[in-house]
Amino acid sequence: MTQDGRLLRGLVLGAVGLGLIAPIAFGLLQTGCAAFGLLPALRHHSLSLDPWRQLAALPGFATSLRLSLISGLGATVLSLILATGLCAVFQGRMRPGRSAQLLTPFLATPHAAMAVGLAFVLAPSGWIARGVAAVMGWHAPPDLATVNDGWALALMLGLMVKEVPFLALVILSAQSQIPVARQMAAGRALGYRRGTLWIKIIMPQVWPLIRLPVWVALAYALSVVDMAIILGPSNPPTLAVAVSRWFTDPDPAMILPASAGALAQAVAVLAGIALFWLAERAIRTCGLWWLRRGGRGTWAGPGLRMANVAAMGLMALAALALTALLVWSVAWRWAFPQLLPESWSLAAWAGHNADWLAALRHTIILAAVTTAMSLLLAILWLEGEDRGQLPRAKWAQALIYLPLLVPQIGFLYGLNVGFLRLGVSGGHAAVIWAQVLFVFPYVMIALSDPWRALDPRLGRVAAALGAGPWRRLLLVKLPVLLRPILTAAAIGVAVSVAQYLPTLFMGAGRIATLTTESVTLSSGSDRRVTGVYASLQAALPFAAYLLAFAVPAALHRNRRDLTGAAPA
């Protein structure tokens, strides 16, 4: 039995190691070689630091790096504050499940789709400006840089729109592991204000549980490409965009400094994480002193409420952006300063543009296969832990997070070379493989907590009634865990749908998904067609989440303790 479990987990570990970690290591190695002057295809055979010198001399490199650091760190810190405010204000006033449902649409929308919508809402000729124009009587849009601004503020805003719901959900789920209500009651009895309690008592307990997801959000914000192309500055752009431009420069020799830039990007992410870690140490030291001082606090409440208002404002902006996408997809002419289209048309949905059907089909197939594979791996891993009675391994968790912490641009070029050597590039297999790299970690993270929280007595009762390990898995555990499994699957679908760079690189551009098409189209002039693709791109993960809520609700409608409602 224990042997069996060890074997099972060993198998899954092997699959994860060989299938997920080795390709990343190989990709990084290839990029690293090119960064230090080794690129046999271009007859570069000797180690040198020239690529780094070239990189430093590239115009705008320093500015690009600074823009990335400011927008990435700034967006993450602000998002963390806003998400904390959101959770603090809603705690005890709204069921966690309900608030999760409200946040889901924003979480499900891929970055690219959200960026396209936001760009239209924020632009000087966009929706907000059109509203102002009606009042002020403008005939032409103002010459103001409200998107693509040189400070990357629009990009920061875009990142925050996506990060706040993510971090809020993470905090909500961490909260469920802490007796928040009792601690709040005790704290209130001692005369602490609600806001102060959240900062002094709840957050220090929540932080260790959300540290890794925050790092993931930080790594993402520092290395995002699609959103930065659409909302970020262009001369120079952020580092990740600059690096991907250098990789596709007409002069192939640019691959050398581009590889160095990709490593610099990885170092920037490491440095960002290190900064967060140092801040954590510093706050821990100062915080203890501050806690022991025992101030009951008056300012924290209004501060958190302001953060909450700002977070709600962001969500309103996001809702406006999603609406803009839908409206554009059915517009014909919609010129400044009209608030609504002058003429409507379904041409973007019908006509020859209906190749969205093919892209939709590809996207659904990829999402279904990658999610199924990731779920299978995750269930086998967790079941292996159960059977082997193995504890939750820290190193294994670090392994899972690795693909999310290393910037994609750092290893995708090298990974493509590796896949080409194996002869699997340019097909569905390569894309599925590359997507599972990113889907599996999220599925695993989403599923492991509910799985480990499962009442072990259920299994014991089944065993006592004579059920073997597989029957216990299939007939007891999986049905009871239906809701978290479907939620994990919905997250998997959302992650798969959003993958841009892996699909582009590994599919040799041949596998057109909603995401690759909508990023390509957003560099074109037809917002209406972009609206079609981006709406679909947002709708697909949303549909998956709806199913994840609806199916268990229907199947378990007569099972009180499985309906997801808090026990009375």
Binding site: T63, D143, T520, S523, S525
Partner: protein, 394 residues
Amino acid sequence: MKLPLLVPLLLSLASPAFADWQQTLDAARGQTVYWNAWGGDERTNAFITWVSTQTEAAYGVKIQQVKLTDTAEAVTRVLSEKAAGQDQGGSVDMIWINGPNFLAMKEQGLLHGPFVASLPNAKYLDLGPASPASVDFTTPVDGMESPWRLAKFVFTYDSARVAVVPDSMAGFVDWAAAHPGRMTHPDPSNFMGATFLKQALIELAPEPAALQVPVTEAAFATAAAPLWAWYDALRPNLWRQGATFPENQSVQQQLLNDGEVDIAMSFDPASTAAAIAQGLLPETARVFVPKGGSIGNISFVAIPYNAAHAAGAEVVANFLLDPATQAHMQNIDVLGSFSVLDPAKLDAAAQSAFAALPSAAALPTVADLGPTLLEPHASWMTKLTEAWAQRYTK
């Protein structure tokens, strides 16, 4: 009576070129050609889909368009295949290409060919040594890429908002001073932005002939000095004070449609009429070119050295040169791109097919477009964009 007709036919059957072409057709049957082409233009995408249906019916060759945001992506892909030692069965069969990307691939030995002379429809091309079909940005084509559409640099403006347009590149300085913030150009890392600078370079350079040979530091310093003076005067009055630029010409066209700027630019004289028909520009949008003429070049298709379906790609390249295909392409309701064929080499039927094409208010005639200026040597464009970045990307 039939003999005189039959003899040349038999002769041509016996000639190696024709026999080779039959072999190519046989090899191509059943292939799917992965055509890597910039995907930002819906009409071009639709045209490529149309070509696929035609070639599939006639030759059993299907086309799958691989939509690129930048042509260099395909170059990088072939290069990374070479890096991995994949010298056969490559994923890129055909690329819409010209200029620096062609130069890079040709220099790196990444191209298949020469193949153009063996295409039966090459007889409609003017392949003389100085013809635009033989020289791509002054780089000799040497049969390594086959022409398919003509490109000529034009400006677009909204005649309802703008009364007077500049009649030369030099005139843009005064125009922008009178209309601050209403004009911009795509980022010079994009070929359209680079073309805007090149157009000014050609007009302002003391000695335009110097641009036709590979660039040197000294030649660049001399030729570009008036350009930088002009640009420094222009830039403060550009959209957002010249601090940021649209990513490409499509984004700029969207800015024109949104009313954020008054002038956009394109490499396709028919694109304005096409955009109006699609509802992407106001009915009042029109085209203008500087009086001295504008840069023109030809878009080509090339086949990578390791293409999995080179035969199919050759069949497609040949089909693109068919007079009927070129006439269909020049139709404003389809694509509106001007033909690359030499009118003198067409028979009467083909000529009348071109003459019968419909017109549109915003579609310029060939006479409106003025003289065609030669592209500088490709090394100038690389140097120009680098120098621009050195000066203005801080």
